[in-house]
């Protein structure tokens, strides 16, 4: 993995090969877990970074739930390598790994990702088919059992925000739900999207403030400040519904309602010209700055275990 080109976009196969190499190079730190299969029967892999122990408190990070947001999967690759490089030398990360495991799902929506490479670069959803509609796919960020199907998602299968026939209908979502529930000790959950330059916390389905709103707001503010310190990239932070719009059935509302207090969703670069067609030369700077924010969240979770 030392010669892998982190400043380029890669296909699904290349990223899966990268994961295998990373595991092979770091057998005492990294392992690969298959948590399920996608609609088209692709494996859903999670990298586990652990220094031992059983069922330790955990941080979950996922990238690429919306397949066309290529900078997120590319950043996930970079994060994985970064953890292996810094796990001993970086005091903060080392301290996190002394107490916690990190789970990283780099390709959360592999069917969609493969489709973006072969058919439609701008595909966002899963690739599931539904009776009675010619349209394919469900928005996996509206498919969670948190005010599922309520305003803030679409019932139209052709919409980009189609919530699906029922909560957890998408195997990509179901796999995470099952994993999080069976693990039972996830303390921080960060789901990464692009491109709006935001760091958001629950709720999306209601404007009732989350019970931990004050702490989440302060923490996201610190995370955004750390992010901006590297390249001056401007981020906003706040609850989903007050910062962007109402979004029912979304990932981090579900995780928060499961008791995972430190639930956040990122929107990475950029709000400028390119959007989903972000030039590859911006991958590494985006990942570098995001990593600083992730570290703030992880270290806070470690220092405030509950």
């Amino acid at each position: 993995t030392s010669t892998f080109d982190y400043s380029a976009y890669h296909t699904l196969d290349e990223i899966y090969t990268f994961m295998d190499l990373l595991v092979a190079e770091n057998p005492d730190l990294v392992s690969k877990i298959e948590i399920g299969r996608s609609t088209e029967n692709r494996p859903l892999y999670v990298l586990k970074f652990s220094k031992g122990g059983t069922n330790r408190p955990a941080v979950w990070i996922d990238t690429g739930i919306h397949s066309r947001e290529w900078v997120t999967q590319a950043s996930g690759v970079w994060f994985a390598k970064k953890i292996t490089l810094d796990h001993e030398n970086d005091e903060g990360l080392a301290a996190v790994l002394e107490q916690m495991d990190i789970f990283l799902e780099i390709i959360t929506n592999p069917d969609g990702f493969a489709f973006t490479h072969s058919q439609n670069r701008l595909w966002r959803k899963t690739r599931s088919k539904h009776s009675g509609s010619l349209c394919v796919g469900v928005d996996p960020n509206r498919n969670w059992d948190a005010a599922f199907g309520e305003p803030g998602a679409s019932g139209n299968p052709c919409s980009q925000t189609y919530h699906g026939p029922y909560a957890n209908s998408e195997p990509e979502v179901r796999a995470i739900v099952d994993f999080v529930k069976s693990h039972g000790n996830v303390k921080a959950f960060v789901s990464i999207h692009s491109y709006s330059q935001l760091l958001l916390y629950p709720y999306g389905y209601t404007d009732t403030p989350a019970p931990d709103q004050q702490e989440l707001h302060e923490l996201s503010g610190k995370a955004v400040a750390a992010l901006s310190s590297l390249y001056g990239t401007k981020y906003k932070h706040g609850s989903i519904i007050t910062t962007i719009y109402k979004a029912s059935g979304n990932t981090v509302d579900w995780t928060y309602d499961q008791g995972i207090k430190y639930s956040f969703t990122f929107e990475l670069r950029d709000t400028g010209l390119y959007g989903f067609l972000l030039p590859a030369k911006l991958i590494v700077p985006t990942a570098q700055e995001t990593w600083l924010a992730l570290k703030v969240i992880m270290e806070h979770a470690r220092d405030h275990l509950y």
Binding site: T3, E14, Y245, T271, Y274, G275
Partner: protein, 96 residues
């Protein structure tokens, strides 16, 4: 392979509640097959929407008829996709 020939991405920045409401209503016009890259969020916040070629003129006419100003953020989506693909092909592939 789906192509994006003739498609553009428009940026709209609503400056009044009326404009914001009009832009929000665009999301309901499913026959236009608009793809909101950035959905309407509030006054002053940009709305980026990818527009299929057949919807381009109707949408622009609709916006202009309602006095909503817009800019073309991406002139030719396919050209950018082509550029990205060629960059990927130029990148050394595979792993050691």
């Amino acid at each position: 392979f789906e192509t994006f020939v003739g498609q553009q991405v428009l940026r709209i920045i609503p400056t009044s509640d009326e404009e914001l409401q009009k832009v929000q209503e665009l999301q309901e016009l499913e026959h236009l097959e608009l793809d909101f890259w950035l959905s309407p969020r509030g006054l002053g916040s940009p709305v980026d929407v990818r527009v299929p070629f057949p919807s381009l003129q109707p949408l622009k006419a609709h916006l202009e008829a309602n006095g909503i100003s817009y800019s073309v953020m991406i002139e030719d989506v396919q050209a950018l996709v082509d550029e990205e693909q060629s960059q990927m092909l130029r990148t050394p592939r595979g792993l050691p």
